[in-house]
């Protein structure tokens, strides 16, 4: 029982990180109808910011907000430079553009920073754990769970209470009508990218604090997980993205934890088979967006 609880905590922490990643993809998708595959590179940018801050001797409490800020700035710039010119193009064009942005950034990291992974200085505290009775939870895990909760509350508040947030939700529901009501497309889309940058930045700090190094190609795996999670949850739906992220985390941890040793080598295919089963049962994802396929800007 205790083992089960401990594994559940692990699943919640991993699922939370996946949820943040999937949310970043879903927010952009909901207003633009585009999966931004360069989302992972936003994380890499945050990671490098953390690394350089570490080298410069900046305290961790300051380098974390700086790293998150770097991801937000990069996301806004990405939209302004790469995605605004193709905003009215077909979905395929936008998808390919996002791949191009990702590849260009990876090559820039390789040529300008290093091809090899670079260590990131992290405070010792992050590698410790807190005891709750017999229960040991890593500070890292607590941080992941805490950050997920804070971000979900913040997003909920932002989308429901602020005018930009309400405009974003309106745009996600029906962009042409929202524009008729005086919502500015540029502001909404830039806002969506800024939010996705924020989510990427937070997820990156959690991700990097786990791996302790950054390399130019590190963005690929997280964006892949986020993609699976957002498909699983229902493309374009924010609640769906969170549900998908957690479900993916649970599938991964439980399959490692409870499959017999002889099946361990196949845990990845078994996990993905579960994803396929879920999609067979609910082809549009767990909690599909009501306006999937509606007209975007």
């Amino acid at each position: 029982m205790e083992l089960f609880l401990q594994q559940t905590v692990n699943a919640v922490a991993l699922g939370g990180t996946y949820a943040l990643l999937a949310l970043g993809l879903a927010i952009v998708f909901s207003v633009m109808g585009m999966i931004n595959f360069a989302h992972g590179e936003l994380m890499t940018i945050s990671g490098y910011t953390l690394m350089y801050c570490g080298i410069a001797g900046v305290p961790f409490v300051i380098s974390v907000p700086l790293a998150i800020l770097a991801a937000i700035l990069a996301a806004v710039l990405m939209e302004r430079i790469a995605f605004r010119p193709v905003r009215n193009a077909s979905g395929a064009t936008m998808l390919v553009t996002s791949f191009a942005v990702a590849t260009i950034l990876q090559i820039l990291f390789q040529n300008l920073i290093a091809t090899r992974s670079k260590p990131v200085a992290l405070p010792e505290g992050l590698a410790q754990s807190v005891a709750f009775g017999d229960f040991l939870i890593g500070v890292n895990k607590l941080a992941a769970i805490g950050a997920t909760i804070v971000m979900l509350i913040f997003l909920n508040w932002f989308l429901k209470r602020t005018s930009v947030g309400i405009a974003m939700r309106a745009a996600a529901e029906d962009f042409p009508v929202a524009r008729l009501m005086g919502v500015r497309a540029n502001a909404v889309i830039a806002g969506a990218f800024a939010l996705s940058g924020l989510l990427a930045g937070v997820a990156s700090v959690l991700w990097v604090s786990q791996r302790a190094s950054v390399d130019p190609l590190m963005g690929f795996v997280p964006v892949l997980k986020a993609f699976i999670a957002s498909i699983l949850g229902g493309l374009g739906s924010l609640t769906g993205a969170v549900a998908g992220g957690f479900l993916l985390g649970f599938i991964e941890i439980y399959s490692t934890a409870f499959l017999p040793e002889s099946l361990q080598e196949f845990k990845e295919p078994i996990g993905l088979a579960v994803v396929v089963l879920v999609l067979l049962w609910r082809p549009n994802g767990l909690i599909p967006s009501a306006n999937f396929g509606t007209e975007k800007v």
Binding site: L14, R116, S117, Q210, K267
Partner: protein, 389 residues
């Protein structure tokens, strides 16, 4: 008839320049270097090629191999990708190189082995350590690193001699190298130790909480946890393992001989790993590290620099022995090399299938620095046979 002749003439015309290049003048040795300067293998191939270039420059400045044969290289980046490795190898073979240098991992090297073998050009993997490499790669495939089975024998024997009697293995079936813990398990059991369990991981995996929780739940705790995981798996694993309060001795292998391992702080303290050399006072490796610092303006942070230097020394020794740059003669010369002095160790190919006999060093991470545990010679009877997959 005409229909038949045209392709024949065309084919001959196309083949001619290739022949011309292949039988290049005997005063230059052309080495085709198809290594991973980007991607997941770059942390290894990058440093290897730095050391490689230092040795090439050193030899050329001294007038060439044996004072007359200069070394030329043609470099290609294969991006850690097996398909790209075979494309680059084909291009280099077409360019008429005499010797090939292939990426660090056995899998991309396999992808190229059939091409280099068919062209009868000897090929070295920069630092692949899987003993299956030359067995499956054929007569023209050579390795340049102590084999996984030899490394595992050394570390298992050390662990057993320390009084450790139970072990837990963390491995990944994704590549040959990451299955090294299975060799460790074989030797450890042969010595009388007990394997408490095994866990697998994916190469891109970063969350080890489920594996760590399983290890934590073992009663009694294993004396030793053995893994050949490397970046980014290893830092993530060791940090999560120590955060969960597991204090077992962790044993790794050469993949973690990198600056990241020594920057992990408390989490990596006490980790012991097998690698290809250690700069003891007065050793050739210490001398090489000085040379490296002189040439590169920075300290050598990993043994893989010296491995690249060794590789050129081996090739040069073979050219000297063969007295020619002819590929087939070179292959035979390499296979008969004995006690070539490299930067890390004496290197012998004679009597092996292509997996060199070299010294293995056991290194401990202490205060964020490397500390030599020992350089024991493995007991030949204990070394497990290459594991074919």
């Amino acid at each position: 008839m005409k229909k038949f002749l045209t392709p024949l003439i065309l084919g001959t015309a196309l083949a001619l320049p290739a022949f011309g290049a292949a039988s290049a003048a005997d005063d230059t040795l052309t080495i085709g270097v198809a290594t991973a300067q980007t991607g997941s293998l770059a942390p290894f191939d990058g440093p290897v090629i730095e050391g490689f270039k230092i040795a090439v420059d050193e030899i050329n400045e001294a007038g060439g191999i044996d004072g007359k044969i200069k070394i030329e290289t043609i470099d290609k980046d294969v991006r850690s990708d097996a398909a790209q490795t075979s494309i680059a190898t084909q291009e280099l073979v077409d360019a008429g190189v005499d010797v090939l240098v292939l990426p660090c991992d056995a899998d991309p090297a396999f992808a190229a082995a059939s091409i280099s073998g068919a062209a009868q050009i000897p090929a070295f993997s920069t630092c692949a350590s899987s003993p299956t490499l030359p067995v499956m790669g054929g007569d023209y495939m050579f390795a340049n690193f102590p084999g996984d089975n030899v490394q595992a024998t050394v570390s298992a024997k050390w662990a057993f001699d320390q009084g450790h009697r139970s072990a837990y293995l963390l491995y990944s079936p994704d590549t040959q190298y990451t299955t090294l813990p299975l060799y460790f398990g074989d030797v450890f059991e042969a010595l009388g130790g007990k394997i408490l369990g095994k866990a697998t991981y994916k190469l891109d995996q970063q969350d080890f909480s489920a594996e760590v929780t399983k290890i934590k739940a073992l009663d009694p705790q294993p004396d030793v946890i053995m893994t050949s995981a490397y970046e980014p798996n290893f830092p993530a694993f060791i940090k999560q393992l120590r955060a969960a309060g597991v204090r077992s001795q962790v044993i790794g292998s050469d993949g973690i001989d990198s600056p990241t391992t020594f920057s992990l702080g408390e989490a990596a303290e006490g980790v012991v790993f097998s690698t290809a050399g250690h700069p003891t006072a007065g050793s050739p490796l210490e001398k090489f590290n000085k040379l490296y610092e002189e040439k590169m303006g920075k300290k050598s942070e990993t043994v893989f620099n010296a491995i690249g230097y060794d590789l050129v020394k081996v090739i040069a020794a073979a050219v000297k022995e063969a007295g020619t740059t002819d590929s087939v003669a070179l292959r035979d010369a390499i296979a008969n090399l004995e006690n070539v002095q490299g930067a890390t160790s004496l290197i012998t190919y004679k009597g092996t299938m292509g997996m060199p006999v070299r010294e293995v060093s056991l290194v401990r991470v202490k205060d964020g620095k490397r500390e030599l545990v020992g350089q024991p010679s493995p007991d030949a009877d204990l070394i497990p046979a290459p594991r074919m997959q």
